[in-house]
């Protein structure tokens, strides 16, 4: 236990460790080195040893077991997390920018009266303080902020830290909360899985992705024609799915699918961090957007500042001509 330790909240998604946790461990390693502290991974599990191999980048693994920690509910999760923070007194708590992290990060900061930064892309020690670069305004701005009080609660932007495979000594400590946790006001009922039967966009090589810039449902036909010409499928950003123009199985991003196609053609998509999360790793990204400052151009390989609705038929025609 040292005031320089960095605590990482590990997250289990569908029985496996979330990718975001490995990213957090990499970020924590850099910070721990700077302050001479250790990396602590906290996992809620009756069998911490099961997760030890994937958490080996930590120096210590604390596994907490309680019946209230088997399915997610904010209050018991928060209580267990707070108990570990009180005993370990870390300098920073790193939490993934996930559905669960978005609840626990701010709730924890509120309880502890601790500084909170969301959307963290880079974290550095700066003397007693931490210097954090965070995404702001849908990725159109970056902010450099300083957090002095300890612990700082840092919610990372997924995809910002590269897991380095550096292994620690990873000793698993299995614990129980001091007193059994109470259920709280929020109870898990069941999982709702997406309806099967639709095209699986995660298996497609060629994706034509449309965003709010597509403007009307009717314009989806233009994207459909292009996708057919390319031998691929149409997918979308959240607002298109929110409108009910395409099913949730076609959504790419944080709440949607993570895709890694050979081609991702982004049309009328601004490239918010929550969208990038699902498509950043595509082999070739071509973005079409009327706004030259759209963040999608920061990750695209090629970009064009033209109207997507004009480009769609022109590109379909150009490809058909090439096919002969």
């Amino acid at each position: 236990m040292s005031a320089q330790d960095i605590l990482v909240l590990a997250e289990i998604q569908r029985d496996a460790l979330a990718d975001s946790t490995l990213e957090l461990l990499a970020a924590a390693r850099g910070l721990a080195k700077a302050g001479g502290g250790q990396v602590l991974a906290l996992v809620f599990s009756p069998d911490g040893a099961r997760h030890a191999p994937s958490l080996s980048a930590a120096d210590r693994i604390i596994a907490v077991d309680d019946p209230q920690l088997t399915a997610y509910s904010p209050e018991p999760f928060l209580a267990a997390l707070q108990e570990i923070i009180a005993s370990e007194k870390p300098r920073a708590v790193l939490i993934g920018g996930t559905s669960i992290g978005w609840d626990l990060g701010p709730l924890l900061a509120a309880r502890l009266g601790a500084p909170l930064v969301t959307g963290c892309k880079a974290i550095e020690a700066d003397g007693d303080a931490l210097r954090v670069t965070a995404s702001f305004c849908g990725g159109k701005m970056l902010a450099e902020v300083r957090a002095k009080a300890s612990p700082a609660i840092l919610v990372a932007l997924p995809g910002s830290f590269r897991p380095d495979g550096e292994a620690g000594k990873a000793v698993v400590e299995q614990r129980k909360p001091a007193a059994p946790l109470s259920a709280g006001a929020i109870a898990f009922d069941d999982w709702i899985l997406p309806q099967a039967g639709d095209v699986d966009i995660t298996q497609q090589d060629m994706l034509v992705a449309v965003g709010r810039g597509i403007q009307q449902k009717d314009n989806l036909e233009l994207a459909e024609e292009l996708a057919q010409t390319l031998g691929g499928a149409v997918c979308a950003s959240r607002p298109v799915v929110d409108q009910g123009w395409l099913p949730p199985t076609r959504q790419v991003g944080k709440s949607g699918m993570t895709v890694k196609p050979k081609l991702y053609l982004a049309l009328g998509i601004s490239g918010a961090p929550e969208h990038q999360e699902g498509m950043k790793a595509a082999d070739l990204i071509i973005a079409v957007n009327t706004d030259p400052k759209a963040p999608i151009f920061d990750i695209a390989h090629y970009g064009a500042e033209v109207d997507a609705l004009d480009l769609l038929p022109a590109l379909t025609a150009a490809l058909q001509a090439k096919k002969g």
Partner: protein, 256 residues
């Protein structure tokens, strides 16, 4: 059911964003403001609950930006009471804003408080969880869809997870929810209905005071991301751009 909805104004990202002279904040004088998208979904969700089972919908907003336009639209959509919190200057950061909203909402004795889960101009994000903490109420966020539940005093909500997966949760009221999406997209209201609302709606002013607190974060610098990583831009008309893209794809063997 008595529902409170928080509605915020945020800079419109379609317009150019400027940084002020301090270098550490947006120049809000040059920004144009729109309703925060997830707050709009929170309002829609409240109206849907009202339509489904009866509810009073109270809207609470800071008096800032184009808030009046947004609030008249809220009234036209079916909000029952609208409260404006007067502001001295600019809207405060999330925690301080949450403290103001909490003071304004407490007297309403709401069973359910709905707030958008995200606003893009928050660095220490989460007015919604901070509001729950300030009101000492349970909280869960990243919610899409809220329904009455069979057990009295509870509601059923869906929380989004990756892969289009949702968890159904049962929530005991009163509670605060961070709304990401309503069950249906926010409704469109014709301008004529908004005009009518402008004549009939009375805003209620809620002056609230909270004790100032030490900021826990200091923003050193705000800047647009480096342009070094930017895409190779294809110029010309849409026909020329289309021809270039077709060529690039053909070269990579993607045109079959």
């Amino acid at each position: 059911m008595n529902i409170a909805v928080v509605i915020r104004q945020v800079p419109d990202l379609i317009e150019p964003l400027e940084i002020d002279a301090s270098g550490s904040a947006l120049d809000l004088d040059s920004a144009s403001f729109i309703v925060n998208e997830s707050d709009d979904h929170a309002l829609e969700q409240a109206i849907l609950l009202k339509e489904a089972g009866g509810a009073t919908v109270n809207v609470v907003a800071l008096d800032f930006g184009n808030v009046d336009d947004t609030l008249y639209a809220a009234s036209a959509k079916g909000a029952d009471r609208i409260f404006k919190i007067p502001l001295d200057g600019l809207p405060p950061p999330p925690r301080a804003a949450a403290a103001l909203f909490a003071e304004a909402i407490k007297p309403l004795q709401a069973d359910l408080v709905l707030v958008g889960v995200q606003a893009h101009d928050e660095l220490d994000g989460g007015v919604s969880p901070f509001l729950a903490a300030a009101m000492n109420l349970p909280y869960v966020g990243v919610i899409r869809g809220v329904k009455a539940a069979s057990e009295p005093g509870t509601i059923s909500v869906c929380k989004e997870f990756p892969g289009a997966v949702m968890a159904r949760l049962k929530v005991k009221l009163p509670a605060v929810l961070g709304i990401l999406g309503a069950e249906q997209p926010p409704r469109y209201v014709p301008v004529s209905r908004i005009r009518a609302a402008m004549k009939s709606t009375q805003f209620e002013e809620r002056s609230v005071a909270t004790s100032p607190s030490e900021p826990l974060l200091s923003v050193c610098r705000l800047y647009p991301p480096a342009s070094g990583s930017r895409a190779e831009m294809l110029s010309g008309s849409e026909t020329e751009v289309a021809a270039r893209i077709a060529e690039i794809l053909a070269q990579k063997g993607m045109v079959k």
